[in-house]
């Protein structure tokens, strides 16, 4: 009996327990870390190449590139090019403002409707439709805006002008209502609604249930509950969502190009039939641009890139802070 015990094989050496990663893991982590920096690389390259190629325009035009309102490419060698993006920056802001003023209230209403009013049975399909809206290509919005929306919007513009024309923004020098910034803003409003709606909906949905129930227990109606609990809770989230929408509206090209009469002049009258934004201006001028002009267009692209980057970063900051704090 004892001999079998003696002949038993020796207990195996205990494995070394260590926190040191194995070579394959070091390699794996290295590859992942390197690859994850690709987004940094791409963003840096975009900034570098556009500013490098547009440098000539920045250098010859100086600060006027952002403030001046003229865009003339010289045809003669002796003449000087004048590139000032000011009119298009104003145009971009005008169109985006119109889009936000129309799109954000509608989105907030829709988000509230979807979260608190819609019957459970159709809620899911309505949310799917909003998501579907986000996946439509922008050229579809452009084509639809041009053919279907424009005649209607022109009529609405005339009505607004008739009754509210005494407000300077709604006045027009001449009765030309086609292809105005108002129509472009309308199309953009429809395009940003899905983003703003889904961000707002997400944040409204996070409203603490105990507070909602407390409001109801105190005898609040549904609207009183929303006013007292949901809106204060979700306000900064809605602002963040609106900023994300603004980011999209600033850079929209094809839809704006399709519905807007792009003229290189500053236009504050939203109902008057011309305007422009940076993105669509780049596309419009690209075809017959000389080398120096196309470099100026690249510089314009750089300005647009910086604008959208700032807006998006601000938006993400606001949205994240709201979600994190979970007030």
């Amino acid at each position: 009996m004892s001999s079998t015990l003696v002949n038993r094989p020796a207990t195996p050496e205990p494995r070394e327990i260590t926190t040191k990663p194995r070579p394959s893991d070091i390699f794996f982590r290295g590859v992942l870390t390197t690859m994850s920096l690709s987004s940094l690389l791409i963003l840096t390259l975009i900034g570098l190449f556009l500013s490098f190629r547009g440098y000539q325009a920045f250098k010859t035009q100086g600060f006027h590139f952002l403030t001046a309102y003229d865009w003339n490419a010289s045809t003669d060698a002796g003449q000087k090019d004048v590139f000032g993006l000011g009119a298009m920056i104003i145009g971009t802001l005008v169109i985006s403002t119109v889009a936000l003023l129309i799109g954000v209230p509608l989105s907030v209403l829709t988000a509230l409707f979807l979260t608190f009013y819609a019957p459970e049975k159709i809620k899911k399909s309505l949310i799917t439709i909003v998501d579907l809206m986000a996946s439509f290509p922008s050229i579809l919005y452009g084509l639809w805006g041009f053919i279907v929306l424009m005649p209607m919007a022109e009529y609405w513009a005339k009505l607004i002008h008739k009754y509210l024309g005494w407000i300077p923004v709604f006045s027009v020098p001449q009765p030309a209502f086609t292809r105005s910034p108002f129509i472009a803003g309308l199309v953009l409003a429809i395009m940003i609604i899905p983003i703003v709606t889904s961000v707002s909906r997400e944040i409204f949905g996070q409203t603490p249930l105990d507070r909602i129930q407390a409001a109801y227990a105190l005898g609040a109606t549904r609207w009183a509950m929303i006013k007292a609990v949901v809106l204060p809770f979700g306000a900064s989230g809605v602002v963040g969502g609106a900023m994300l929408g603004l980011g999209r509206a600033l850079g929209e090209t094809v839809a704006v190009y399709s519905v807007l009469n792009i003229v290189f002049k500053a236009n504050w009258h939203v109902l008057y039939g011309f305007g422009g934004n940076i993105a669509s201006m780049i596309v419009q001028k690209w075809g017959e641009a000389s080398l120096s002009e196309s470099k100026a267009l690249l510089a314009a692209g750089f300005v647009l890139f910086v604008m959208t980057l700032l807006v998006n970063l601000l938006a993400n900051f606001i949205v994240r802070r709201t979600i994190k704090s979970g007030r």
Binding site: R22, S24, D25, F28, R29, L32, T33, M35, S36, L37, S38, S39, L40, I42, L43, I46, F49, L50, R53, P105, L106, L109, T110, F113, L114, A118, I129, L132, M133, S135, F136, P137, S138, I139, L140, L143, W144, F146, I147, V148, Y155, L159, I190, T221, R222, W223, A224, L244, R248, G251, T253, V254, A279, V283, G301, T308, L309, V311, N312, L313
Partner: protein, 351 residues
């Protein structure tokens, strides 16, 4: 001996409106409709807009009156808010209906088998619609999707894995960069590739170069969706793999990624849907052609959104009609991608 009898008890819903309670509501809606028609007939206000506006005003105020009589002022305000929200919701869903309807109605006219078998090589916009098609654009779009996916998938997947599996010191920063990248306007991506490649080298626009800006636009979408999906993989699976002595690399490759497979497919499909309809970057990078071009590296290419764009820019009746046909085909592509992504996503959620 007592016998137990089971009686089926229906759940009661005392808050549900009874038919008797609903009658005044319908009555008020009917009254509002009549009032609307009368006002439109009498006053100079005319048109669909007047009908919609007046019906909203009358319907809301009548309902408000009803609730005010029954339940007081606060309830009337509640009714008003509810009706405004409903109207807001309807105003959002109307454009979707109109978009789909117009696209189908207008695009259907030019549709036929020839659309999928012919190109525009020997056809001009003034030719009858029964001639010419968009085979070249379909092939171009497929090429673009394929190349953009091949470029962006590894980058996005590895970035997502870094964010979920390693969670290193840089992950906050990387997350921030991905968010920033998702805001890059498509036209900037196109102009960037032009400045970086076409302006610096002797290369001309081609399918491959056209796919580069699309890859840039695709990366953030795929990264963010994959990240969400990978976060859903239970940590127990990872711990089980590590407890069995597998390296982290083995755990990720053989457990985490396969577990999230269908979600990752959804991520790719969503990314493809994002880029399939992009037009602006192609204007700078694609070159153009009216023939089928099988070589992705040499010679111009066409794509569905580009085809629509050219038709729209042409502005003639034939051009716009062909644009509608093109957008219908593009919409079918995007919608089927959307539905596929949904089906994959739901199947995962059910498991």
């Amino acid at each position: 001996m007592t016998t137990l009898t089971a009686t089926r008890v229906e759940p009661q819903k005392p808050w549900k409106t009874t038919p008797k309670q609903a009658i005044p509501n319908f009555l008020m809606l009917g009254l509002a409709l009549i009032a609307t028609i009368v006002v439109v007939a009498v006053t100079p206000m005319k048109g669909k807009l007047a009908y919609a506006f007046l019906f909203f005003v009358f319907g809301t105020s009548f309902q408000m009156f009803l609730t005010w009589r029954k339940r007081g002022k606060a309830a009337a305000v509640d009714t008003f808010a509810g009706s405004v929200m409903m109207t807001g919701g309807i105003l959002v869903f109307l454009p979707v209906a109109s978009l789909l309807w117009t696209t189908i109605a207008k695009g259907f006219k030019g549709l036929g088998l020839h659309v999928f078998t012919q190109t525009m090589a020997t056809t001009s916009y003034s030719d009858p619609l029964s001639k010419g098609g968009l085979l070249h654009a379909i092939i171009g779009t497929l090429y673009l999707i394929l190349i953009a996916t091949v470029i962006s998938l590894p980058l996005s997947l590895l970035t997502a894995l870094y964010l979920t599996e390693i969670k290193g010191r840089a992950s906050g920063f990387i997350q921030f960069l991905v968010q920033a990248m998702s805001g890059v306007p498509s036209v900037v991506a196109g102009v960037f590739i032009y400045a970086a490649i076409l302006l610096s080298t002797h290369l001309r626009g081609s399918t491959f170069i056209g796919a580069l800006p699309l890859a840039i636009l695709m990366i953030p979408t795929v990264t963010r969706t994959s990240q969400e999906v990978l976060n859903l993989v239970p940590n127990e699976l990872r711990e089980a793999g590590l407890a069995l002595g597998a390296t982290q690399w083995k755990t990720v490759a053989t457990i985490v990624v396969p577990a999230a497979r269908s979600g990752l497919i959804t991520a790719v499909i969503l990314g493809v849907a994002r880029i399939a309809g992009e037009t602006a970057p192609l204007l700078f990078t694609l070159g153009t052609t009216d023939k089928v071009n099988w070589n992705p590296f040499v010679g111009g290419q066409n794509a569905l959104p580009y085809y629509v764009w050219s038709g729209l820019r042409d502005g003639t009746e034939g051009g716009v009609q062909r644009a509608w046909t093109g957008i219908l085909v593009l919409l079918i592509v995007v919608l089927s991608l959307f539905v596929t992504a949904r089906v994959f996503g739901n199947r995962k959620a059910k498991r």
